[in-house]
Amino acid sequence: MTVEGVKVIVHPAHNQLISVVTVIKGGVQNYPAEKQGIEALAIRALTECGTVNDDKNSFKDKLDKVSGQVYGTSSMDFATFRLNCVLTDFDIVWPLYSDALTSPKFDEKEFLRIRQDAVNMIRDTESDPQNAIDKYAKKVAFRGKNYAKDPDGTEAIVSKLTVAETKNYYKSVLNKGKLLIVVVGDIDRNLLQENIAAMLKKIPAGPAFKNKKEAYAPAKASFSSTKKDLATNYIQGITGAPLPGSADYNAYQLAMSIFSNKHFLEVRSKNGLSYAPGAWFSGGSTSTTNVIVSTTDPDKYKKVLDTLVTKLKKDGFTAEEVKNEKAGYDTSVFYRQETNDAQANSLVSNEVQFGNWKRSITIKDEINKVTLDQVNAVFKKYMGNITWVYMGNPAKVNPALYAPTAKPLPKSTVTPAKKN
């Protein structure tokens, strides 16, 4: 339905819970690189810096009494502001949610507190190598592009953001042109519509958001590294993938799911090279193909990967593998339908990326139409030059294996990492 000019998607839950997600479209397209982190801080401020009716403590205490969850996220393509509560508590939680979204106070004392927390959490993320290498990979691969921006920001930038500019930023993106609302819950439709309409009346109109899609296709392989004294080494590779709406999209989803299993089998089962070898397709305004491992023998991993990719490009996948993967896809679709939040996320991403929330429901049929030839063709098409990043002991890696033009790392600066 459309309420006050904003698309509202309502889906039944068949349980006692309700999830509401308000989406602010744009993500990293909404702010310049020198202000990265501002959206995440603004969204955090909605629940941490008071509202027109409640100071921070009053707001949080009211939520605690009914175990209501109100929080936001900021990602590459959109920000979300979320509500999750027991349906019978909805009339207590909704006013808090609506106030936080439409009438946040941005109290300066609280803002300075959460700004310091945001800096601490940036360091916290940096301490986790799995997160750290993913951020590093994006920074290297998308240098100068929107996707090089980190929604969490950097310590240098976030520590200097002021309450005034953060508040102004939020005001600039909170308009009906950027909004989408998704509700998963068994709530009376009229009651929901009234509540949403009252909330949206407080939000100004704005031009319809136009998403800017940017394909990623590195012209050649590259290798970048950073030394870290870890117990193992992390290596991640990124290359291009079909954009949402492309005819190749569904076939590539299947191709990467099969590839992920084969990658696991070759890297972990047959060669014992990594506990958690990962390979996945990430669809978005810039779509990517990703591989990641933590390993004490990165060069051997690279050889195993090359052999696998070369074989698959030459021989292709089999009809049986495609058939089996379709069965697995069915399971994953139902698995996602187990929780309201997961269903809401699926509706959001399909509406934002494809302009078609119904794809969340029809995807099984669409995947079933994909042919073996299509799967093989898209794998050859997109599994191309890889942008590699490495974190760990430089003595363990030969850059030339990853990018023929890469220079050897200076051995004189190498300190052996423990337990490699």
């Binding site: 190598p129 089998l265 089996n324 069965a327 929780t339």
Partner: protein, 460 residues
């Protein structure tokens, strides 16, 4: 406007009044949970939940770190990995994985202190095939030297990944100091050397000690019918031989020794981009003080309230970004711990405030009757959230099957509602108030020089 009392009543009513008890020796179970014990001692629980047309099956075994002396440290976990490797029906992992793909299966396993579990989710029309697949992996595993040579570094790689995270490094050292000589009994991830030198013979020793129907539970959950599911379970697992002994009587778990004095340490690590602090006490366990395990959960929930003195002193005042306070329910001494991400500029103030808060836990007025009610309200609603995702229902139940009991699991939310202020005070006095603890901080070189925690992070 809602009346809070009436909402709570409705919630309690919807959760508890429909519990079923269908036989003399039947454990108490929630609605739509059905229990049988096969002749070989295998407990089978069927959970009927038709939210989506999937089935999740799980086998849990009373095995894990608590069964491991130093020479077996980490091998319950390696055993769990080998489960997915090869068996009589699927003699190598390629064939094993191909079968999971044919069944469209999502699969995994975990190893903890007191439970190892294996679980598969797939379309409900593959239930019989899924159970046969589980049966082959559980009862007829193949351990080859060459397979283990490949899997040992994989399991060690899981350990190395953990060691690349400063939070784990701090956690690990706190565990060593808390559990002393029996540390391996609380350390599922194990020991590098033991993992890397593990042999098929050691796998068989674990199998022969613990992998029996009378030490296991099978759970079948999802869009299934209990009568048919019990028939399948009996047909497929009924021939699994009883051990003839109780593994936990034959191989008893030694008692953990109480801490005799508090112990502080500072760990300097280049990978700690921001510092973390952890404090740990030895808490109650199910065998000796199940009432306090329940009071402990209510107290932890209360401490997590925004209005609590703990949150107000540490988070509201900007001393820490987060300050988790938790208790872990176990059969053999559950830990009570605080895990803190302090504001680096305020480490000293944060540490002093934590000690002050702990010292005040037992003071009158540290928490209010209203806060106890609010904590109970949260725990009541948690039960609704916990039951939202059908594929997680088996693992929630089997955790308690291993560490407490099915009755404890079923009654838990109701029992939270019965906790009194006196129960909480008794728990605090017995396990926290003036009791010894282990405290650690992990910090990088630069911050260590700047903030010098050695000067104040020590016994006074």
């Amino acid at each position: 406007m809602h009346n809070k009392r009436s909402i709570m009543y409705k919630l309690i009513y919807s959760i508890f009044l429909v519990a079923t008890v269908s036989g003399f020796s039947q454990p108490r179970l929630p609605e739509n949970y059905f229990w049988q014990k096969l002749d070989n001692g295998l407990e089978v629980v069927v959970i009927e939940n038709n939210k989506v047309p999937l089935a999740t099956i799980e086998i849990a075994v009373k095995n894990g770190a608590y069964t491991e002396g130093p020479e077996y440290s980490g091998l319950s976990h390696l055993f769990e990995h080998m489960f997915f490797k090869a068996n009589n029906d699927y003699p190598d992992q390629e064939k094993f994985i191909r079968r999971t793909e044919e069944l469209g299966m999502i699969w995994n396993g975990t190893t903890g202190e007191e439970r190892v579990n294996y679980y598969f989710t797939f379309n409900n029309d593959s239930l019989e095939a899924g159970l046969k697949f589980m049966n082959a992996a559980m009862r007829f595993p193949i351990y080859r030297k060459e397979d283990m040579e490949k899997e040992n570094p994989v399991v060690d790689g899981e350990f190395q990944r953990a060691e690349s995270n400063p939070q784990f490094l701090l956690y690990f050292d706190v565990q060593k100091k808390t559990w002393g000589d029996l540390f391996t009994r609380k350390n599922p991830i194990g020991d590098h050397d033991i993992i890397n030198t593990a042999t098929p013979e050691k796998m068989m020793i674990i199998k022969d000690k613990y992998y029996y129907p009378n030490n296991s539970i099978l759970v079948i959950c999802g869009d299934v019918k209990h009568e048919a599911a019990f028939q399948l379970a009996n047909k497929i697992f009924g021939s699994w031989k009883h051990s003839g002994f109780d593994p936990h009587q034959k191989y008893p778990i030694p008692e953990f020794k109480p801490l005799t004095k508090s112990d502080y340490f500072v760990k300097v690590s280049s990978i700690a981009a921001t510092p973390y602090m952890m404090y740990q006490w030895e808490g109650p366990d199910y065998r000796n003080d199940s009432a306090s395990t329940i009071a402990a959960d209510v107290f932890s929930t209360l401490v997590g309230l925004n209005s609590s003195k703990w949150q107000q002193a540490l988070i509201d005042k900007g001393l820490a970004t987060y300050a988790i306070f938790q208790y872990q329910t176990l059969k053999y001494v559950g830990p009570v711990y605080a895990f803190i991400a302090p504001n680096p500029d305020k480490i000293k103030e944060c540490h002093e405030e934590i000690l002050k808060q702990v010292a005040e836990f037992s003071q009158p007025g540290y928490f209010t009757p209203q806060q106890i009610d609010d904590a109970k309200g949260i725990l009541l609603r948690n039960q609704i959230r916990n039951t939202e995702k059908p594929s997680t229902l088996p693992m929630q139940m089997t955790y308690h099957w291993a560490s407490t009991s099915l009755n404890y699991f079923t009654d838990l939310t109701k029992n939270y509602q019965n906790v009194t202020e006196a129960d909480i005070r008794r728990y605090i006095d017995k396990y926290l108030n003036n009791k010894p603890f282990v405290a650690g901080i992990i910090i990088n070189e630069e911050m260590n020089k700047k903030y010098n925690p050695e000067a104040y992070f020590k016994q006074k």
